[in-house]
């Protein structure tokens, strides 16, 4: 059985990781605004941030090189990248920080 959630610790780590992911996406998007304006539930592809297949490669490379997380497998990629929060989940899960 998993230990009781230390909510404060989790929320701190969540904000931190969300910031990292926002900055990565902002650089890929050539985002001229404040990365903090990127909605956590925004979709990555199609609707939302409107990334396409070329950007997807950048996201995967950025995740690996900047955030140290490698996504393998078709499903992992498809499901892992559906929204900003989904990407944050992937990173936190790799770091053992997801409840």
């Amino acid at each position: 059985m998993s230990p009781p959630l230390d909510l404060d610790l989790y929320l701190d780590r969540r904000e931190h990781t969300l910031g990292e992911v926002r900055r990565l996406l902002a650089s890929i998007l050539d985002y001229r605004g404040d990365p903090a304006d990127i909605d956590p539930d925004a979709s990555l592809f199609g609707t939302g941030l409107g990334l396409d297949s070329l950007d997807a490669v950048e996201v995967l490379i950025g995740l690996e090189i900047d955030l140290g997380v490698r996504l393998e497998g078709d499903d992992a990629m498809r499901l892992g990248l559906r929204s900003v929060n989904a990407v944050v989940d992937v990173v936190m899960r790799a770091r053992g920080e997801l409840p």
């Binding site: 050539d30 396409d52 297949s53 070329l54 950007d55 490669v57 950048e58 490379i61 090189i65």
Partner: protein, 652 residues
């Protein structure tokens, strides 16, 4: 009407060196695809490539903009490939000695010599053959040599030359391999057009054809391989690498080729498809072929020669055409190898077999669809097919409608404010798009409907876009090939800015990107004026030039300039127009000027284009508008061709 024929062929590829080797490879259904030995492909999607055996055992250095080593011909296979193929074509044709400066070379390449020296290769090949007239390089990625052959015919028809050697070459570069791998388009197996598995196999090679006017060839008793009847160009305006899913762009290029040849789609016997083997390309290309050429009948048979050669980039059009012509003389069409049943949406019966299929060809098309959305289609046929080529002879002059110059050093134009999405536009693309938007004068709004498909973009460029090129090489340098930025790779091809601009502003008409080194923009103006004067598939052509200054090269230009040309149909006699243009060999300003001036003894004013891309032309227009001269000749004497364009002011 004078036709053009092919009197010589030359080729070098993964199949080997020389026409005989290629003929044998066709008969035996052999491919040249094998594991790449020249560089490490262990971290890439595949190890397979189509390498030229002539380079086996030799290494090649890292390519890229940071190399300070003087780039010698021995570094990469490109020069050797091009020279051996060009020489063979020349020897095969054995043209009678032409008057000095009456021979020309048109050369297509995607990556140049280690991503550099795009125009210089043409120089070397020309020197190697003793060609003394114009030499032009076209760089529209995989459509380059198809476009080059078409342009070669234009030079003959215009009387700019009496013999033209046209074709293309590209060599396999590790970074390019990494780029395609990052894009996810490489097949783990040998390229299987229209079949499984999906994906392409990269290759390298060179091929050239010798072109002459039919009557000249007949007079000297030359045996022709084929006749060339016309070509079409178009822009997808859809995406950096993915083709327009509706196939409308390729459709326009096909119709352009048919129109320039004076042919009906129903008369086409055979299509040599682009057929890279990727799901997107093959499916879309097939649907367009069926739509454009299958009206009321079965579509013609289709071959995908990349299954034998690999995807040879800038050489693809010419190399695949050579295979077609070798077969055509024997009454067959080339095989499509590795075909084991059609992929969904792909043709089964029309795809040829693993050996050449007996099928006489009278009229055929060679299709090419490139990154950046540039499409080129060549209409060719059996040598005895008479030309019905329609050259429009407009009574109207080619008018200059708009001019804009964007200086890269000043604050960048805010594209967002004029309605263009700046996302994914690098510096070159931004400047070119801004200059185009300003020159068009429609507030930057994308063109729509008829205006959109009948407005094209001709660009003069000298190098790959600097920012994207650096970004791509930097990523590889820092992170290895696994860190290749697919986006930067897609944006670094020489024609990428033109592709981005056509997408941003909806310029879906004919497009090309040419280089002669300094003066490329002026050449683009000349070619655009010629296109408007002799064809009717475009009403307006934007002509642009763009350059990013390299570090430690203060002589480079930094910015973009554009002119808008159209036919002076509605306001005859007012404004500025293009009165003439001339293309001659290098360092031949007298000849180029003479051709541009036509009947005029001289121009009121002469401006020398010092390499500041199109800016001199803009100055000429300003001078004419100010009324200080009635005619201004703009001359560019420092490129691989000397280009002269005569601007004049109409009587008020």
């Amino acid at each position: 009407m004078d036709g053009i024929v092919v009197t010589g062929l030359g080729a070098a590829s993964a199949l080997g060196t020389g026409i005989e080797v290629h003929r044998e490879a066709l008969r035996s259904g052999r491919d040249g695809l094998r594991p790449v030995e020249r560089f490490d492909t262990s971290r890439m999607m595949t190890r397979l490539g189509g390498m030229w055996p002539g380079w086996d055992g030799r290494v090649q250095p890292e390519a890229g903009p940071d190399r300070d080593l003087a780039s010698t011909a021995a570094d990469f296979p490109l020069h050797e490939l091009a020279l051996v193929a060009a020489r063979e074509a020349w020897d095969d044709a054995r043209p009678r000695p032409v008057a000095p400066r009456r021979s020309a070379l048109v050369f297509g390449t995607c990556f140049g010599h280690g991503f550099r020296e795009f125009h210089a290769v043409a120089h070397r090949v020309a020197a190697g053959l003793g060609i003394t007239g114009p030499r032009v390089t076209i760089s529209t990625a995989c459509a380059s040599s198809t476009n080059a052959i078409g342009l070669g015919c234009d030079l003959l028809l215009r009387g700019d030359a009496d013999v033209v050697v046209a074709g293309g070459a590209d060599s396999l570069l590790r970074e390019a391999f990494a780029g395609f791998s990052a894009l996810g388009v490489l097949s783990a197996d040998k390229c299987a057009p229209f079949s499984e598995p999906a994906g392409t196999t990269l290759g390298e090679g060179a091929a050239f054809v010798v072109l002459e006017r039919a009557e000249d060839a007949a007079r000297r008793g030359a045996r022709a391989w084929a006749s060339i009847h016309g070509y079409g160009l178009s822009a997808d305006g859809f995406h950096e690498t993915t083709p327009d899913p509706t196939g409308a762009g390729v459709g326009r290029a096909i119709r352009g080729a048919l129109a320039s040849a004076g042919w009906d789609g129903a008369s086409i016997d055979f299509v040599s498809a682009h057929a890279t083997g990727t799901t997107n390309n093959d499916r879309i290309e097939w649907s367009v072929i069926a739509r454009e050429l299958g009206a009321g009948r079965e579509p013609p048979p289709v071959s995908g020669s990349k299954s034998q050669l690999g995807h040879t980039q800038g050489a693809a059009g010419a190399l695949e055409l050579v295979l077609c012509l070798l077969c055509q003389r024997e009454g067959t069409i080339p095989p499509t190898l590795h075909f084991q049943g059609p992929r969904p949406g792909c043709p089964a019966p029309p795809v040829t077999t693993s050996r050449p299929r007996v099928h006489p060809v009278e009229r055929a098309l060679k299709l090419s669809a490139a990154f950046g959305g540039a499409n080129a289609v060549l209409a060719y046929g059996a040598p005895e097919v008479h030309s019905t080529r329609r050259i429009a002879a407009w009574r109207a002059r080619v008018a200059v409608r708009g001019v804009a110059v964007v200086d890269g050093a000043r604050d960048e134009l805010d594209l967002g404010r004029i309605g263009v999405d700046p996302r994914r536009l690098d510096r070159s693309a931004r400047w070119l798009t801004a200059a185009t938007a300003l020159a068009l004068g429609e507030g930057g709004r994308p063109l729509r409907g008829e205006a959109s498909v009948r407005t094209g973009l001709f660009v003069g460029a000298t190098r790959m876009p600097e920012e994207s090129s650096r970004r791509c090489h930097e990523a590889i340098r820092l992170h290895g090939v696994a860190g290749t930025s697919a986006a930067a790779f897609a944006r670094m091809s020489v024609n990428a800015p033109a592709g981005a601009c056509s997408r941003a502003l909806g310029l879906l008409g004919p497009t090309t990107t040419v280089t002669v080194g300094p003066g490329s923009g002026l050449l683009a103006i000349a070619l655009a004026a010629d296109w408007l004067a002799t064809r009717d598939d475009a009403d307006r052509l934007v002509v642009g030039a763009v350059e990013e200054r390299r570090p430690s090269h203060p002589e480079d230009a930094d910015g973009a300039a554009c002119l808008v040309l159209d036919r002076d149909l509605h306001e005859p006699g007012s404004g500025v127009y293009v009165a003439g243009w001339g293309i001659a060999g290098p360092e031949d300003p007298d000849e180029a000027s003479r051709r541009a001036l036509g009947e005029l003894p001289r121009a009121d004013s002469v401006l020398v284009d010092d390499g500041q891309t199109c800016v001199a032309a803009a100055r000429a227009v300003a001078e004419l508008q100010a009324g200080t001269a009635r005619t201004v000749l703009v001359l560019s004497p420092r490129g691989t061709s000397t280009v002269a364009v005569l601007f004049a002011r109409g009587a008020r």
